[in-house]
Amino acid sequence: MRTSIRSVVVVPIVLAMALMGCGAGASLAPSIAPTVAATVAPTEAPSPTPDACAAANLKTLTAGKLTIGADNPAFPPYFYSTDPKPAGSVWELGDPTNGKGLEAATAYAVAKALGFTNDQVVWKPVAFNSAIQPGAKTFDIYLSQISYSADRAKAVDLTDGYFDLNQAVISLKANPITLVTTVAGLAAFKLGAPVGTTSYQYIVSNIKPTKAPSVYDTLDAAIAAVNAGQIDGVVVDLPTAFYASSQQLHNGVIVGSLPTAGGTVEHFSIALNLNSPLTACVNAAIAAIKGDGTLQSIVSQWITSQGAPELK
């Protein structure tokens, strides 16, 4: 009680210190300037001379062979099973060696563009997590739905994309939304998406629905709302659409994949050992199969005609 005079004196000092503190705080701001942009290295390496990319000159794990890794089990629509299962096959569910499925077919097309025959391709099961870790690899190239990210590209080489992860609409077979063939036609339906996703942004900016979209914490909650008949469809990326419509929805269906609309679209990349001498050649091979329409026909055979029509 008696020290009151003294504590009154202390106040201005503390206030002055607080003000000085504010000044110091503000001057710290520039130190968190964006450095992210600089670290997103372009995936293209300097274009190699044609000779370096000839099959005979490629420094593969086993000379004259191209070892391709894939996750096991491998799933449709990326890999399909061989029926009956070949004796001694290590592959569960999907069998990459038959060349069926988006990634199996893409892998063989890339191998062909590099100059390998189908007989020179060796498949190896490699768990997804170990494939994208830094360190020596047991494969030359690896395909298993690796979406490109700048962080991953620091651990392994990631090629240009071979498949764009477009958005898609999923619903129940009985819902009238399944009759829609255009993006404009979706506007009349009640749509939903998980919060903070590209999918939600796509609904708002591109579909512009007449009913406010419902927003959920997780995709599972959005799926539950479709099953409960509260919304007509959920927008998700295409690979998720395949899984969710077949596994999570009762009598689910992909209404269609949505056209790319500005901004950066995520894509699947082929992974290689960090700084692999093959990366530039694989990029050239991807460019080649894009250029001659091979990739487009693979996508149309294994995605578009496998229950994911394109909405115009």
Partner: protein
């Protein structure tokens, strides 16, 4: 708390405690502010939580979305006050005949006070519409109101019951001796006194309900918290949450003050009547 004032204080003597309180408040918050703004991460926190530009841009949308929360808690609160009272009365019914009713009321209050609100909202919001029973609504807003009503009626019925039990048994006995029936005694003697006594705790539960309306965002209702979340993820900035918090503060702080004032008034009245 409000003891007799020590006699013989001069004007100067009375001002001294006020000055001390003022000084200690400023020192305390000044020191706290100093620690915060000098923290190594303050610059980053300042831009991601206190961005004035983002705040201005996101506030109108959130105030609009708050309308959904207001609708929710107004509808739910009117139902809760009725359902809660009904359950409290059922639980207070005397005599062996009403034993099963009392057991049901006890099971209900135990169950719904034990279950997490989110779980009730999920089960009713997705589960019941998922049954696809014809004629049963599947609107998540409808089921959100039902879930909040079930949840809060359990708490509120206990508040009412405490009020009913706080009325001395002699009151009921006196009412019965005047020729009132059991129900009349409850209606005209017990409940009016009991309800007046529990208004502050009822207001507390009402404030709780207001805040729990954000839970219905789990079943797809886009209300203020979800709107803030959408803006946060679009702008990579947490400031919209601050806006949502402010909207709640503007509503709940006056209510909390009112509750405290009612408690204080009640207490002083009690002191006077006891004297």
């Amino acid at each position: 708390m409000a003891g007799p004032r020590p006699p013989g204080r001069t004007r100067e003597g009375r001002q001294k405690p006020i000055l001390i309180a003022l000084a200690s408040t400023i020192v305390f918050f000044g020191a706290l502010g100093w620690v915060v703004v000098n923290a190594p991460g303050w610059a980053a926190v300042q831009t991601s939580f206190f961005d004035a530009e983002v705040f201005r841009a996101s506030l109108p949308g959130m105030v609009a979305a708050f309308g959904t929360n207001v609708q929710l808690f107004l509808i739910a609160e009117s139902l809760i006050l009725v359902v809660g009272l009904l359950i409290a009365v059922l639980r207070s019914l005397p005599g062996p005949v009403f034993f099963p009713v009392r057991v049901l009321a006890i099971v209900y209050t135990d169950l719904f006070r034990a279950l997490p609100g989110v779980l009730i909202i999920f089960i009713l919001g997705f589960g019941v519409p998922g049954l696809q029973i014809p004629g049963v609504p599947n609107d998540p807003f409808f089921w959100a109101v039902v879930a909040l009503t079930l949840l809060y009626s359990a708490y509120v019925s206990e508040v009412y019951r405490a009020g009913i039990e706080s009325i001395h048994p002699s009151q009921a006995a006196a009412a019965r001796s005047l020729g009132l029936s059991q129900l009349q005694a409850l209606r005209f003697v017990i409940l009016p006194q009991a309800v007046r006594r529990v208004i502050p705790p009822l207001l507390n539960d009402f404030i709780g309900l207001q805040k729990d309306t954000v839970l219905v965002s789990f079943v797809g209702v886009v209300e203020i918290f979800r709107t803030a979340q959408i803006k946060q993820s679009a702008l990579f900035n947490f400031t919209p949450y601050l806006g949502a918090a402010l909207v709640f503060l503007v509503l709940t702080i006056p209510l909390a003050r009112l509750t405290d004032w009612l408690v204080a008034r009640d207490r002083s009245r009690g002191a006077r009547s006891n004297a």
